[in-house]
Amino acid sequence: MIAPSTFAIASRDELWIRGALSESRLMHGHARQHGQTIAASDARDERLVVACNQAIEDARATIAALDARVRVVARATREDDVESVETTITISIGGVSLVTTPADAIADYELLRSLSGSKPTSLRSLPIVWQNGSAAVLLHEAIGHAREHDTKPVAWPEWLSVDAPLVSRRETFRDVPLPRMKHLIATQTGAPFVLPDERIEVQLVAGGSYDPVTDVVTVNVAVSTAGPFTIQRTRTEIAAAISGAAGDPIRYPGVICSREGQELYVASHAPVMITDALT
């Protein structure tokens, strides 16, 4: 017999526009699962509310000076007696955004400011150099989500290793827990790396998706030397296009992963990576 599992959450969600509070939400609740049935209510767990209030108070000190649209979410959860607190900050300037944590918010804000003024060239079919750890998003869709759907294996480069463990996660007390990525860390060992003379350099990615029915990965590039563009390729095509990588994994500033309408933060790291043309 499967023992019942419990989940409790308190979260604070605030939207700040150029230093002024625009929206503030408190959410709390509890869910208990017996087999295939979940009973959920907005029961308030004072300890979790205090924990998320403290977390968002700490984050406010960081975001107060940011001249941007800033959404900060502090979540305190207890899953079968294991408690955790997570704070994520989404910073948007000129329609381009990144997701970060209080520890990295200032540095990532400066990165976003520096990229928002970049002047792209016209888009051509060229090899792509994935900077800033942005290859993590490509691999998140092509490897991480594919694993969630238990799809057939694809031959990835032998020098590439991807750690993307699936754990049971849910966004709120109202949701059904699903096997989701806890994080994604891509590493390379002895990968080739020859920087193409002509190339597109990807800095930030707006989003992506994986369709298990067609096996097609979509990645929407937000900032690159060729401006925004979209990649739509099968996993086999993407695996075949990966031609090199260099260095240690770099923290990509944020992946909010949405599946079945549940948005969860997935910490993502990847080395600088090169792919053949995918446009």
Partner: protein, 292 residues
């Protein structure tokens, strides 16, 4: 707005094999341009919940919101699972909810049913969204999908089934004569009156949940009937992808042939006079057969 909006609700939701019962109450207000939302403090809080606390907590009443009977949901799920065989269900979400709202001294209640079904016949996926436990439409679409062949060019003249036209309608605001269908109250408790949809700011407010800031929106869109429908023309019976602008990827039925096609639906040639059906697209959309 300075008034407080409150909502008490219960929902039973079947989601891919798991049944979730949710009960909650929330309140929202907007003061000095700051929107705030939080659970309504109509019940006790406890310092640290254990299972007995939760049982006691959930036994407290959500004011006068009645309990929901999950058997309607269970029965509909069972019917759906049977009616779509031998196709694969990628996603099935069925819910029934009951809610009580209060704002500006006005109190009102509503009941809702929602169905989302994604059916697979690789590489095709049909998407079905309904606001009632209608099994006939699912049977019709599943029967068509089973027989689906290869991609074709779109027919020159094609009908859109109501479930397809309803999804398209929000993209046609300003392009097609339509009205906001009157009835009920909006997200701020104001009556929803029948009005021609124009480029003016909509008179009503859309609030899909207590924690979502209400926005002005045209509610319950309804295309005005005109022209004539050719009942012999091929018909698009289901969406194969979400609507993008006025581009529809649809499953078409032409006599004995069933095929996927991509259709440009920017120009509507006729709208049926039949009684339309309400679908949960955007802030509500009535579907009636249309002719391209």
């Amino acid at each position: 707005m300075s008034e407080t909006y409150r909502k008490w609700g219960r929902v039973v939701r079947y989601e891919n094999g798991v049944t979730v019962r949710v009960e909650e109450a929330g309140e929202a207000s907007e003061i000095d341009e700051v929107f705030r939302a939080q659970p309504a403090q109509t019940r006790v809080s406890v310092p640290h919940l254990d299972a007995r606390d939760v049982d006691a907590y959930m036994a407290q009443t959500l004011l006068s919101v009645p309990h929901l009977d999950a058997r309607d949901v269970d029965a509909y799920v069972a019917q759906t699972l049977l009616s779509v065989r031998p196709l694969t269900i990628e996603r099935l979400i069925v819910s029934a909810g009951i809610a009580k709202h209060e704002t500006n001294g006005i109190t009102w209640s509503e009941e809702s049913q929602r169905v989302h079904l994604a059916l697979i016949k690789p590489p095709l996926r049909v998407l079905i969204d309904l606001a009632s436990f209608d099994i006939a439409i699912i049977e019709t679409i599943a029967a068509a999908l089973v027989r689906a062949g290869d991609e074709r060019e779109p027919p020159e003249r094609i009908r859109l089934a109501p479930n397809v036209s309803a999804a398209l309608l929000p993209s046609l605001v300003g392009e097609l004569a339509m009205e906001q269908a009157g009835g009920g109250l909006d997200g701020k408790g104001q009556p929803v009156e029948t009005r021609a949809v124009t480029s003016d700011p909509p008179p009503n407010w859309y609030r899909p949940g207590y924690a979502i800031r209400p926005v002005r929106a045209w509610l319950n869109l309804r295309a005005l009937p005109f022209g004539s429908i050719d009942a012999g023309a091929p018909i698009a019976v289901a969406l194969l992808a979400p609507v993008e602008g006025t581009t529809l990827r649809v499953l078409c039925v032409d006599g004995d042939d069933v095929f996927p096609a991509t259709v440009d639906a920017a120009h509507i040639a006729a709208v049926s006079r039949d009684t339309p059906t309400w679908y949960p697209y955007a802030a509500g959309s009535f579907g009636a057969e249309m002719m391209l």
